[in-house]
Subunit: 178 residues, 4 copies
Amino acid sequence: MSDITETESRWLSDEDLETVRGRVPMVYVDAVPVRVDGLGEVTRIGLLLRAMADGTVSRALVTGRVQFGERIRGALLRHLEKDLGPVALPRIPTNPAPFTVAEYFPDPLVSGYHDPRQHAVSLAYVVPIDGEPEPSHDALDLAWVTPEEAASAEVRAEMTGGHDRLLRLALAHVGRLP
Amino acid sequence: MSDITETESRWLSDEDLETVRGRVPMVYVDAVPVRVDGLGEVTRIGLLLRAMADGTVSRALVTGRVQFGERIRGALLRHLEKDLGPVALPRIPTNPAPFTVAEYFPDPLVSGYHDPRQHAVSLAYVVPIDGEPEPSHDALDLAWVTPEEAASAEVRAEMTGGHDRLLRLALAHVGRLP
Amino acid sequence: MSDITETESRWLSDEDLETVRGRVPMVYVDAVPVRVDGLGEVTRIGLLLRAMADGTVSRALVTGRVQFGERIRGALLRHLEKDLGPVALPRIPTNPAPFTVAEYFPDPLVSGYHDPRQHAVSLAYVVPIDGEPEPSHDALDLAWVTPEEAASAEVRAEMTGGHDRLLRLALAHVGRLP
Amino acid sequence: MSDITETESRWLSDEDLETVRGRVPMVYVDAVPVRVDGLGEVTRIGLLLRAMADGTVSRALVTGRVQFGERIRGALLRHLEKDLGPVALPRIPTNPAPFTVAEYFPDPLVSGYHDPRQHAVSLAYVVPIDGEPEPSHDALDLAWVTPEEAASAEVRAEMTGGHDRLLRLALAHVGRLP
């Protein structure tokens, strides 16, 4: 994966990142992991479970920053492998266009997507997972839920920053919004 | 594949088909088979080779009619398996929306897509092939060409009915039009 | 509008239509009329009001069949003008690909889209309306609702055949699903 | 246009911009201005003419940076008005997803899109122009060319940085690639 090696070398210190974050929008990718059947129909959606500081559990999508010099495809694969492990076998889409663009702002009222740290422009993709994900990094678990469960009020209440809305947009994109 | 069994029973005689063809547009699917690398980038395009009545060889995409009662996804899989064999392992897209719609008319000047037999509205998809295709049905062979070759004047000259244009639209959709 | 004149001449008797409907899928278009602001953001969705046989009022999208020899664009414009009048000034999208494909079946359980008369494959588009619609044909009225109202349980209950779901998919496509 | 006023205040000095450019990808928008007919079919593509340092004339698309705190829609409108004047009346798309993503790198071999100054991730949109553009800023003129002319070798030779390829992808997206 020479792509990753190259980009890792474009290291950015925490201090530099803080400076940059206040001046330009950051480029991000969001990935909605899914299981599909032989006809390409989405049957399950993968939601990461994370432990929050207050003891509650939050559900999240795979998300992360695109680094200097890194291709979008490389960033997608890197963040999917970081969160789902090396044998998840994600199927990065052939079409470079995202299904939607989520604009995260420090002010939660601007767009409905919220990130207190920064203004981020995130390209969102639905990514079928063929292999066996092993939640890693800071994820406690990966739960595979049905489209109906993914769109439920319960799941909505457990997601933050607008990820619940992004998830419903993904369900709509694949024709599986209940 | 109960989907296929069900639809095969909706048999339509040749005579009935002729009658219907003159009265309403037919629903079709077009599939552009591709090979992708681990980053989802299209590396090769699969073109069927067919022997023509005049002894020449023509290149073609996978194409076929959607039957009464059949899902689009089922029709895509059925035609891909018919032309590429049972172990081609096509990856039907998760998104039900085609990348373009090709409108075939008996008059070649209406839209640039031409079918002397009928007015057909065809939903076109790019389909990654994971397995080992074995050209069958009336296909002589399947050639895997690069995006550059697929967009070349040589390949354009060997395709008919507007399939060369549909192929370039597919290359553009995946960001690989030279 | 020579396009319309031409297609109107491809007349199909009610009897012929019945025969054809039982043998092949029909090609349809669905249009979601919207109002947009200067930034292209959807601010209102137009829902037709129709009087039902049982005295209730139903809300519906613009929908109709594509005729033999007719372009998709021509069918979209024809049905929009039929339901919204001649000065609605619909903006037919530049991209021929629909945002989704709704597959209507006589059996309501196959796909979630239901049409007791036929199997129809419908290409769905979001269409900004610039002019002054005058509901005509068999529409009682056109109501402009907000995205929040369009996604509400109340509106969902007043739509049939899966049009409520198609409407939510349209809202998601334009990034306005609440 | 409060959106513009707000973002203009997020001023970034040339020095700061240089620093940031070497550390993270910049967010850009590319717009392909088009004229459409009443059926939404693209009839002409608008190409900016710019005088180059060496005395030649170069053709270009509308392009520009997304500022901190600025919505994608706002950046699109701002750059279109900057290059085409205040009465161009651009129709920003309802769908926030771009038709493709162009990844510009200082190294011209990475992606085929090239920007010697920076790594930019650009969201590309096709934008119908309803009004009367008056080329301004540093544009000499705006030429409306046919899809055939836009895809010609002559126009390709006059565009730089991969804009010729982006233009052909736009033509393919609207079904007008010859």
